[in-house]
């Protein structure tokens, strides 16, 4: 465990038990949230989260923390809207400060096609309970005075959508809060514990093999982030996931307040301001699939150029840090949650570049699935068998990044 974390959360150390009712592979936000909700909502606390490194060391500690529900298909809007609401009350529920802040989010359109997309998004969001409105260039300027509406004379802003409930929260605090909540209820979290295989009998999972020994399990849930294919491979299960790196970076302190989150799919980048005043930026995934978490100059150069067209003040800032995470990309840009053809083996994956916002709701719904044995309505459209049923949930425009 790293020192800084130890001060934040009293992660008590337990010797691993011989077995648990539920074993969760991966101590990212989704795994921790599932453990938290199993214990809090359903009294199921004979649960272990197995993390091969330290909790939040994967994408849940590497993301740009955008929370929003302005998705492009009804099933997704309803699902993410639930998460936006759960985030809004997580501080009250846990008594922990996650630095949640509602900022509002602008999605800009610089072409007729994008304008149509954003208009449709606003109407569709309103119909399914998410707070998004269509805005004109003048309104864009009012919401974010720093924007150059001509975009350096190259790609003028024609309008966009404004998602008023768009928010951010501190990722580490979210992870630790959920970990602490789960521990308080009696769940175990084992760090430095890598799952190396599954104990199987026919088509049934009976437990996990780890570098710390074997552990029996009633149910095993894979929450292994970008490494999900490897974990599913242990169960002989093939899944439609490809792992791509996604990079992000922050600048030094910007002395003005920059309120909203701003994104542009025509310019392929998004930006927000951190609590420290840094400008936090990201773009698209790296083109080739890989598990490498190297970040490079290519992205800094291309993304900063595009960002500088829209927000000229960025040109006077310097880049302080950059990093990357391994994203589990699904072919339809929607998550994959729930049962699999392997008995007692559930998966929660396909979070790609947009799963931080879903940490509360996915944990809540996966916990409900484990407790009741039935797939909850909210996540039924996102089950693995949708591919065989020809019911993919294509939502590229909204999920693309962040």
């Amino acid at each position: 465990m790293n020192e800084f974390m130890e001060k934040q959360v009293k992660l008590s150390w337990h010797a691993p038990k011989k077995g648990y009712d539920v074993v969760i592979i991966g101590g990212g936000g989704h795994g921790l949230s599932t453990a938290y909700h199993l214990a809090k909502r359903h009294g199921i606390s004979n649960v272990a989260v197995l993390e091969r490194s330290y909790i939040g060391g994967g994408n849940s500690g590497r993301n740009t923390t955008i929370i929003r529900a302005d998705y492009g298909i009804p099933e997704a809007v309803k699902f993410y809207q639930r998460s936006v609401e759960l985030y809004q009350r997580l501080e009250e529920e846990t008594g922990r400060w996650i630095m949640h802040k509602t900022k509002g989010m602008l999605k800009l359109a610089h072409s007729e096609a994008s304008l149509k997309t954003e208009r449709a998004r606003a109407l569709m969001n309103q119909a399914f309970g998410s707070d998004t409105v269509f805005v004109t260039p003048d309104e864009v300027k009012e919401i974010c005075p720093q924007i150059d509406l001509t975009c350096g004379g190259t790609l003028p802003v024609l309008g966009g959508s404004y998602h008023r409930t768009g928010a951010t929260a501190r990722h580490d605090r979210v992870n630790w809060t959920l970990a602490e909540g789960a521990l308080q209820e009696g769940a175990h979290i084992h760090q430095n514990t890598e799952v190396t295989g599954l104990i199987m009998k026919d088509n049934k999972v009976l437990g996990v093999k780890t570098n710390q020994g074997d552990i029996e399990a009633g149910v095993v849930i894979s929450n292994a982030g970008g490494h999900v294919s490897t974990v599913c491979g242990m169960a002989g299960l093939r899944i439609p996931i490809r792992t791509h790196p996604l990079q992000a970076y922050v600048t030094n302190h910007f002395a003005q307040t920059f309120d909203p989150i701003v994104a542009s799919s025509d310019l392929l980048f998004y930006v927000s301001q951190t609590a420290r005043g840094e400008m936090l930026m990201g773009a698209e995934i790296d083109r080739q699939p890989s598990y490498n978490r190297r970040s490079g100059f290519d992205l800094l150069q291309s993304c900063s150029y595009r960002a500088g067209l829209l927000l000229p003040f960025l040109k006077s800032l310097r880049i302080n840090r950059q990093w990357a995470g391994s994203c589990d990309m699904s072919p339809d840009y929607s998550p994959i949650m729930g049962k699999t053809p392997v008995e007692n083996f559930l998966i929660n994956t396909g979070w790609g570049t947009w799963g931080f916002k879903a940490i509360p709701v996915s944990g809540e719904q996966m916990a409900k699935l484990v407790a009741t044995g039935k797939t909850p309505d909210l996540i039924a459209p996102f089950s693995l068998d949708r591919f065989a049923r020809d019911r993919t949930m294509a939502d590229r425009g909204s999920a693309g990044t962040h």
Binding site: H227, S229, T230, R238, I239, P240, I241, R242, T243, P245, R287, Q288, P289, S290, Y291, N292, R294, G296, D298, P331, F387, A388
Partner: protein
Amino acid sequence: MSLQITCPHCGTRPIEEFTYGEIPHVPETLTDLDARDVDRAFMLANPEGETTEAWFHVYGCRRWLKLKRDTKLDRIVE
């Protein structure tokens, strides 16, 4: 610097000129014909480590080539 791919026709070129293609491989153990179709359409090996893949030289000779890459290090092996 970004990765370089050596094309048998055009020589060593930056990876940005190529598009990636996975070589599909439906497992022999899968015998049900419908299941084989679903696997062929959607399922991926997504291996961690060395793997053989196909790349299309889209901004070059527009031909496919095969290479071996280590996906953990993101390095071309051969």
